[in-house]
């Protein structure tokens, strides 16, 4: 941060008069705004894409009226959500009821801060990046639980309870499945993890292909993360056909909108973590983006990162429109009886691999054999 501030002061001499902390603060606010704008745009467009994907999969059209091909539909939806009546049920716990959507949104949005969008492109390159993501996304569970409890509606309560049980359970396999990437990079910083996957092997430099255990890890992570973000087939907290709409059943207008936006935010975070930890992040096969002159390296890496992440988001949408929903006991069984033990075994496997082969991945081993 300090280096960034100093370089900013150097680039814009007019800032030199201001104290350093003020410039730092300005930088923080600015990057926060940029990330917020990105998050909101993604979440809006995400809702549109979701419906387009649904349209394709379900042999129907999807939005096609507002703007060319319906691309302005999400703006219309946004306006509609803002203008709709804001209802707080008479017997709800008004304070908690109103607080809940903010917690959920903040929990989801705060994770965007450390997403390594490109070479040097993240709002904050925290040295505890992954740890931070795991921590702040946990806010979501408090928000959802509050929403379910404060609504004073039994369906909402069931939804809230399901959400609490589900998110808390699946956080363990999610975290455990991400640790192999941390072990390989030797750092919790997402930028470091991405950098560790560069090199000369192109696609095969990715953690996904580092060793058999990381390959498996990726799928464990993706399954568990689907559950942590309440995506189908794990959308039990909402479970429209069982719990009517679950924890958000009493919410209207923009309060509902915040839950909705957070859901898309979570989808992106999951995809971004998968990209950063397993799919090489912003690394472009055979090109060293860091070495490109000027802004090009950042732009190229940004495009590649977003491309990979959006592809993952599309996969999530595809799964969402294909699979039915698990039952709550099956969900718990899957986490505690299968995913948790498997991720632990996997972690052990990765550790042993790193120990035995001195941290080298399969491509490196093959290369050293050939060379």
């Amino acid at each position: 941060m300090e280096a960034l501030t100093l370089s900013l002061v150097k680039a814009v001499p007019a800032l030199g008069a201001a104290p350093l902390w003020a410039v730092s603060l300005l930088l923080m606010v600015a990057s926060g705004v940029v990330v917020l704008v990105f998050a909101l745009t993604f979440e809006g467009v995400g809702s549109l894409v979701l419906r387009k994907v649904a349209g394709d999969i379900q042999a129907r059209i999807g939005p096609n009226r507002v703007g060319p091909n319906g691309i302005l539909q999400f703006l219309a939806d946004g306006v509609k959500l803002v203008l709709k009546e804001d209802i707080v049920p008479a017997k709800a716990d008004a304070l908690l009821f109103k607080l809940a959507p903010y917690l959920v949104f903040v929990g989801s949005f705060a994770a965007f801060v450390v997403v390594p969008f490109g070479v040097g492109l993240s709002a904050a390159d925290l040295n505890i990046g992954i740890y931070y993501v795991m921590a702040v996304t946990s806010l979501v569970v408090i928000g959802v639980l509050l929403a379910g409890w404060a609504s004073n509606n039994k369906w909402a309560l069931l939804g809230g309870m399901r959400a609490a049980a589900q998110i808390v359970s699946y956080e363990i396999p999610v975290g455990m499945a991400l640790i192999p990437a941390v072990l390989i990079a030797g750092s919790l910083s997402l930028q470091d993890i991405v950098r560790s996957q560069g090199g000369l092997f192109g696609l095969f430099g990715w953690n996904l292909f580092h060793n058999p255990f990381t390959f498996f890890s990726f799928f464990l992570y993706f399954t568990a993360a689907q559950a942590e973000t309440n995506q189908t087939p794990f959308d039990l907290p909402e479970a429209e056909s069982e719990l009517v709409s679950g924890y958000n059943v009493e919410y209207s207008g923009i309060r509902f909108g915040l839950f909705f936006l957070a859901e898309f935010g979570d989808m992106f975070i999951v995809a971004a973590l998968a990209t950063a930890c397993f799919l090489g992040g912003w690394n472009v096969p055979f090109i060293r983006a860091e070495a490109l002159p000027g802004i090009w390296g950042s732009l190229l890496s940004l495009g590649v990162f977003l491309g990979k992440a959006f592809a993952m988001v599309l996969v999530m949408m595809w799964v969402r429109w294909t699979l039915p929903r698990l039952r709550v006991d099956q969900l718990m069984r899957m986490s505690w009886k299968y995913l948790v033990p498997l991720t632990f075994v996997n972690l052990l496997g990765v550790s042993l691999w790193l120990l035995v082969f001195d941290g080298k991945g399969i491509p490196e081993l093959i290369a050293s054999l050939a060379g």
């Binding site: 649904a54 999969i57 379900q58 042999a59 129907r60 039994k154 369906w155 069931l158 309870m161 399901r162 189908t232 087939p233 959308d235 479970a239 429209e240 056909s241 069982e242 719990l243 009517v244 429109w321 294909t322 699979l323 039915p324 929903r325 698990l326 039952r327 709550v328 006991d329 099956q330």
Partner: protein, 386 residues
């Protein structure tokens, strides 16, 4: 699931599932008593005096009473609303009953047309059963696929009788009109289009692991119990009982056709579970396709409506006619006192009888299973709350 240590007493909760609930297939109200997610008791509140309770059903329209008040022919449009997803079958059931009561001879072509529309309606009804069931299980896509196919059946029905939901085609003594030019060819085209789709459904969802796990071994109805509780149609056959009125008490021109009675086999779990009931419907669609194909090939020329006066007086007597509707036996019991309208009318429907066993088999299941049970019985509320 119900066993719990006494040291951890839990408070039971009463929840109304329905009448406004996306998965109660109409306006069913189920009063759930739950211990967390586990349902300790699920009482369907099907209204009217059927349970000797003073609350009137949400849908109740006193159809049977209306039937005693209007002439036999005038009651025909009310049967459309008996089961709005199988209006053709209900139409025909009424026609067959009155024709038997009044001893009216029906032209053979009319009977063939009736069988064709009844079987097409069975397909479209089972499509909704299949689609809404998958939607209940959280998979929305198959629902829209089912609707897509059903639209084509609706096109056919619109062609033949002008309606897309409350079809009103059967008449006492035949059908309202001959098949319009091109109808029979279009029906064949539909069958050719539709038959491969059944495999598509099976690939997409029927054997999906999650789907199977949600249905297999859930709410098992043993054969003896299914019979004892009076279950009929796919719900009875799902328990492995091979009983189909089209075969066992043949009516109309059904004996002319070669088809199989689909029964549950316990292929993915216990015989008589939700999956078996689901698969019976999927397989029955194939058999219906078979029947319609044969009917199209064998349909004779000739008139489609017997000469029946608009207002007629059947002789004094009574009749009970049972027909195989998509939701089980639809039986019409009518007593004639020799006047223009029935002296007494009682209608027996599949969904209503099915609700008898609901409370018994839902004990100890989870909330999500209740949805699975309602869907597997493929109930429709106008039949329950007539």
């Amino acid at each position: 699931m119900t066993a719990r240590p006494e040291a951890l007493p839990t408070q039971e909760m009463t929840i109304n599932m329905g009448p406004q609930h996306p998965s109660t297939h109409g306006v069913l109200r189920v009063i759930l008593t739950t211990d967390g997610e586990v349902v300790t008791r699920a009482v369907p509140d099907i209204g009217y005096l059927h349970r000797a309770l003073p609350d009137i059903g949400y849908l109740h329209r006193a159809l049977e009473k209306i039937g005693e008040r209007v002439t036999y022919a005038q009651f025909m449009p009310f049967t459309d609303r008996l089961d709005y997803l199988a209006a053709m079958n209900c139409n025909c059931a009424w026609a067959w009953a009155v024709e038997k009561l009044a001893k009216i001879e029906v032209p053979e072509r009319a009977e063939f047309l009736r069988v064709i529309v009844c079987e097409l309606n069975r397909i479209s009804s089972h499509l909704i059963a299949f689609g809404s069931y998958t939607a209940d299980m959280g998979a929305f896509t198959p629902f829209l696929y089912a609707i897509r196919e059903r639209e084509r059946v609706n096109d056919l029905f619109e062609m033949i009788c002008g309606n897309r939901l409350t079809y009103n085609y059967a008449r006492i003594g035949g059908v309202s009109g001959d098949a319009p030019p091109g109808f029979l060819e279009k029906t064949k085209e539909f069958l050719d289009y539709f038959e491969p789709k059944i495999d598509e459904y099976n690939n997409l969802i029927s054997y999906n692991k999650i789907f199977v796990h949600r249905l297999a071994n859930v709410a098992v109805v043993p054969a003896a119990e299914a019979v004892a509780y009076g279950l009929t149609g796919p719900n009875l056959r799902g328990s492995g009982v091979s009983f189909d009125l089209r075969k066992d008490e043949p009516y109309s021109v059904y004996p002319k056709f070669d088809f199989k009675v689909c029964v549950g086999t316990g292929e993915r779990g216990t015989l008589g579970d939700c999956f078996d009931r689901y698969m019976v419907r999927i397989n029955e669609m194939r058999e219906s396709v078979k029947i319609v194909r044969q009917a199209l090939a064998m349909i004779p020329e000739g008139p489609v409506l017997a000469k029946v006066p608009r207002v007629f007086k059947p002789p004094v007597g009574e009749v009970y006619v049972r027909t195989e509707c998509p939701r089980g036996e639809t039986g019409i019991y009518a007593i004639s006192d020799g006047s223009t309208n029935a002296f007494r009318l009682k209608i027996r429907t599949g969904s209503f009888v099915t609700m008898n066993i609901f409370e018994k088999i839902t004990k100890g299941l989870m909330i999500a299973d209740i949805v699975a049970v309602i869907g597997s019985f493929d109930i429709i509320l106008p039949e329950i709350d007539r």
